[in-house]
Structures are given as C-alpha cells and as structure tokens.
Symmetry: C2
Subunit: 247 residues, 2 copies
C-alpha cells in the first residue's frame, strides 16, 4: 500500500543535542491546558526541573514503535502523528496530537506506536522514569492523566467505528468535521489542514487517490471548497454532518 515515505526526512534526533535554554513554566503557552495545569507552584517547578524544552522539525520522529519507553512529553506547540505499521510497511495513523496534549507511554516498558512531528513542534520532554515517579507522588497529576487517557480511549474507539464500518465518503466527511472542530478557521472560514493527502489516507484507512476523489466530489457538490493544497472551507456543514453519519 503506502511506503513509509517520510523516514528519509528524519534527521538525527535533536533530543540530546539541542535542549533549549531552561525556560520557566510562567510563559508556557499551554500552561493552563496541559496536564501540569493544576499543580501547585513548587510542584510545577519540581516537575519543570525534571524536563527539558525541545524543538522538532516537521518529519522528525521522537519515538519509534516497539522502542523502550524512555521519554514522555507535553506538546507545547505543533502537531504530531502517532502511527503503527504492519511488517510490510502499511501504515495506520492512530492519533494526531496538538498543543497541550501529552505523548509517550508512562508506566509501561514499550512505546506502542511511533510519534512523528507533522509540523515544526516544541515539546516539554521528561525522562519516563522520573515522570512516573513524580506522577505517583502527585495524585492530581495522575488524575488529570487518567482523564486524558480516558478521553483518548473514547475518541479512539469512536474512530474504530469509522475504520471498520464507514464508507470512503463518510470517512472523509467525518475527518473534515473533526478537523474543523479542532482547528481555528481564518476570517474566510478556511482551515489549513496540518496533514498531506497521504497522511489523511493513513488516518482514514484508505488511499490517497480515494481521499482525493472524495474531496473532489464534495467540492463538485458545493459542500466544501478547496483552497490551495491544504486549505478547506466547509461551505455546507449540515450536509457534511449528514454524510458523516451515512444518510
């Protein structure tokens, strides 16, 4: 099906080589949305001292499927994909994460999926062992992590319905609505997808050609408008909603 087209883009990981200058949590952009939000000031400082700010370029992979789980992180900025693949290189994106989301596998030995930057991104990175220890001692942090994990699980299960039972048309409609919900539209109502057609196909469990054909068809019907390579404007949201549910 599709090859791991972006492996070649991955340079050496900057994790060890380019820690940014230590930066306080005070001016952190996700300060009031990340899992560390409701820690007390001294606790947050302690956690902050465990972690490092790290910058990623689009295409770089932070963790690989099956690796030992060495680090976890908060996403400060940017969009990343979580993916797994079959032995022969078919890839399925199992999650897309945004600013303030948490990535990595705490309390477990293995990273079950790769994590790759789709855009340039900044992370607040923690060694897993230290993070685990810290979390065990801080009930609210653990509670927030649990909340997030439960939400992730709900979203993931909802996506299984899409993968297993929806038609290509329904998949694309659902995807567009999902993106519109997460992304901020500009003044013209256009959203900029952080994903290529190939990546969209990898999320929807289909092919690039099918995604393209479905989008063209939606455009032909006047339900969406395509602007440039990655821009989309949802012209008739209600129609999309209907298609997403398969009516």
């Amino acid at each position: 099906m599709n090859m791991q087209f972006d492996v070649a883009q991955n340079g050496a990981l900057p994790l060890m080589t380019r820690p940014c200058a230590p930066q306080s949590c005070d001016q952190c952009g996700v300060r009031d949305r990340a899992i560390c939000t409701d820690l007390s000031d001294p606790d947050r400082d302690a956690l902050s001292r465990i972690g490092r700010r790290v910058t990623l370029h689009a295409g770089q992979t932070v963790m690989w499927e099956g690796d030992d789980s060495m680090v976890v992180a908060n996403v400060i900025d940017g969009t990343l994909k979580l993916a797994t693949s079959t032995g022969d290189g078919r890839e399925q994106i199992v999650g897309v994460v945004y600013a303030s989301d948490f990535i990595g596998r705490p309390f477990g030995a293995r990273t079950p999926h790769s994590v790759t930057a789709l855009t340039d991104a900044r992370l607040c990175l923690f060694p897993r062992g230290s993070f685990d220890a810290f979390a065990r001692d801080h009930g609210d942090l653990q509670h927030r992590l649990l909340q997030r994990t439960l939400d992730d699980l709900d979203r993931t299960r909802a996506w299984m319905l899409l993968l297993g039972r929806k038609t290509a048309r329904e998949k694309v409609a659902t995807f567009l609505l999902d993106m519109a919900r997460r992304l901020q539209a500009d003044q013209a109502g256009t959203i900029e997808l952080p994903l290529s057609r190939q990546q969209i196909a990898d999320i929807l469990g289909t092919t690039i050609e099918t995604v393209s054909r479905q989008m063209s068809e939606l455009k032909r019907q006047g339900i969406i408008a395509l602007v440039g390579r990655r821009g989309v404007r949802l012209v008739d949201g209600a129609a999309l909603e209907a298609l997403a549910e398969g009516v």
Copy 2:
C-alpha cells in the same frame, strides 16, 4: 450492513431488580486480578459496600451508547462486548472484556459505547459518582485504573491497524491468535470462541460471509480445524502468525 440483531434479546435490565445477596470480597474469583486488588482490607470493604453483585444473561445490555454514565463495574465472570453503531445500524465492536476487567466510564458524563453480555455474566457494580469519589481518595486504585486504561488504549490502537490496513485474511488470522492468547484451550488444543460469526465480523469490521469464507479457506489449507459451531483448533500457529502480519 448488519442490523442490531440482538436487541430483541434484551429483557428488562436486572440491575435494579435482582441484586444478589451481599457477598464479601474474600471469595471473589477476581480478587487478585481486578483493580481493587491492592486495596487495604478496610478500604476494600468500604468499596465493597458501595457496590452490588449483579447477574446478567447472555444478550442483556448493561449500558447504552450515549447514555448518562451512571454505573461502572468489575467483571467477575463472563464475557461482554463494547460496541458503537452508526445512525443506520452498522455496528462496530470496540472491545471485548473478560473476568477481572473494568467497564464503564468513570470521571465522565456519557457512556461512549454500549456494553452487552455475550455470555451469562456477573458484575460487581458501582454507582459512578460514588466510585469516582472513592477513586479520587485512593491513589493506588486510581493508579491501577490508569494502568488498565493505558493498556486498553494500546490494544485499541493496535486494533486500528487491523481495521484500517489489514486484509480479510489477515484480520481473521489476527483475531484467532488474539483469542488463543486469551482463552484457555482444552486438552485437545481446541478453544471455544465466545462470539458468533456475526460478532466476529463486527469486531473485524467485515461481514459474516467474509469471516466464514476466510475460516473455511484456513481450514482447507490445514492451518486451523473447526470443531462444531464455535470451536477452533490452531493446527499451524506459525502459519497463522505469518498470515496475521501479511506475509
């Protein structure tokens, strides 16, 4: 695709009407595997007093998708399915749970999927509010719940690869290996599937006919043997493993 064929089997829920006689945790069959395992004796007693033992018959549904999240439970015995469906009745099973697993949506207002007994089952049922409050006060319980949720999420994401990228053959092979891993084989090496062909199809995101055809083909090749309606013996496990990965 497939209709919700088993809705008709659902009698009135026994949840309110048939609480079993209070029963201590001492003789609980999942005592050392459920999330309550490492609570202190008094704590476990306290939790036990919040909950009730409840018996379900095969086909009965405990919670419906979209309902307010009123209860959570430990599975003491039996097998249940978690499912979501599209507006027009296509169903996707998003999880199968066994003895000692935890079900329901703690810390959230809505139940994101239905929960239905596949076999007769026994639950240790808690009102969600009380359970949430208890869990917040007991870090180890919450930690165990987090562990389980993280494991569930890993498994669920692995299943997304199957739904999105695997062929019918690979799906069936993966399913059989997964069941063999979970279920206890009898002396002849035969496992008894707790699922009908329709339910298998609903797990794999395919149809009953495709499942049947793939199983027949595997049997023809001597890789598995079918015994009766629900029995399967994995004759050539290595061949199955190879098929599951798509080689």
